[in-house]
Symmetry: C2
Subunit: 225 residues, 2 copies
DNA sequence: CCGTTAATCGTCATGTTGACGATAATAGCG
DNA sequence: CGCTATTATCGTCAACATGACGATTAACGG
């Protein structure tokens, strides 16, 4: 029943926050086309394999990370006829938001895999510039009305760390006091572990974990818009 | 470079509002598999054809409508291995929001194409139940923070008609006075044609057309949530 | 003990929301 | 033509949310 016999791949936009900047995991291509250029990690969907399973498998292969941490969602499908010079290849892009991995990128099957700062990135292989841009925009938008910012954090985090996520992803300064009020006030966004405090330089902060809410009410709106 | 030689199709979730209820365009399958069952319109992506072009082409073929009216966006891709008994078929679903077509469904290449009320629909072919549900949920969500409700309306419409869209899609009653205030107050949502009024039974209403905004600020939040 | 730093609580003017009263402008009808 | 039903549109008000920013608290490094 194959009519056009196309290839279907899965590509991953893996985002994390390192050193106060949004980073994406890229792989330097060792073979043509686009040899030597950075590309999103990805690969072919295996026969009999579900799309999301393929994404999860790639995630594990590229990061060595168990995909239970963080967040994974389908971003969109890209199928412009000439996007791959080798032939017709459709790619289903997935977006993952991950906490800064203490474990290095190990076990990645591609040569040079590395986290690169988003800022100013360009000239990726294929149409990965656009896929990346779409992923970043999706992440920015979703922080507004979902509790997904917690996906960038370790299981337990402080309000200030969560605020740092918003400030980094949105490239905006946020008033610490109002942010604290909104986040602790939003229904089910975070819940205090109560038990603990932590410190770094100033007054110790309470630790929180993500709450049960799937949607934020009310949403946190981006400043500029 | 074809590794797994899969088939890629485009399926359409065409939504419109008729008689105060949300309707979807379905086609009764004339051949197996799922012969006699309702299915979303769709078809194979042609070689050399862009995904969105394929969606637009199907839209035109199924509805005879020029896809400039209304709204079309990618909904998601479905590729569970056994979703099509004939083999591995990935389908890229598109969601379209259309005004109630005065023109009947003409020129559709499938036998029985018809608009069916969403309410209580089930047992569609393939995984179209889920695709439809995802499309409806997407439409519901997008009415909150985009001006897409206007895609269900003719080029010029009254605030009451727009309110009817929200009430139908959200299955909720909305206070006419507050709705009027919010919609006319939201930046770029609608703009008065000024020139005209229309009537049906009560006081004549002003006519509006959709404004330039792509996002609603502030959003219109669903009541229940 | 003191300054520095960061967390957290408060206050206040302003803006938004939901509930609902009041008016305005038509059509239909006797 | 006045009356009534119907719908559009404007207003009012209390509850709540928001942004700006002051004040207090609890650590740290000297």
């Amino acid at each position: 029943m194959t009519i056009n016999g196309s290839a279907v791949t899965v590509d991953l936009v893996l985002l994390t926050i390192r050193a106060g900047a949004l980073h994406v995991l890229l792989i330097r291509r060792g073979i043509p086309p686009f040899k030597g250029r950075w590309a999103l990690p990805g690969g072919f969907v295996l026969s009999g394999e579900d799309l999301e399973d393929a994404a999860r498998r790639e995630l594990r292969e590229e990061t060595g990370l168990d995909p239970t941490a963080g967040h994974l969602e389908q971003l969109g499908t890209y199928g412009t006829p000439d996007r791959d010079p080798r032939g017709r290849v459709f790619t289903v892009a997935y977006l993952a938001l991950l906490p800064d991995l203490p474990a290095p990128v190990a076990g990645s099957d591609a040569a040079g895999a590395d986290w690169l700062a988003i800022e100013g990135l360009e000239d990726l292989a294929f149409d990965h510039d656009r896929i990346l841009a779409d992923g970043v925009e999706r992440a920015r938008a979703k922080l507004e009305y979902t509790p997904l910012a917690t996906a960038f954090c370790p299981p337990e985090f402080t309000i200030a760390e969560l605020r740092g996520v918003y400030e980094t992803v949105w490239r905006a300064r946020i008033d610490a006091r109002n942010f604290h009020r909104k986040v602790t006030g939003a229904d089910g966004f975070v819940e205090a572990t109560g038990q603990s405090v932590t410190r770094e330089r100033g007054r110790p902060a309470q630790l929180f974990r993500r709450g049960p809410a799937a949607l934020l009410h009310p949403p946190l709106l981006r400043p500029g818009s």
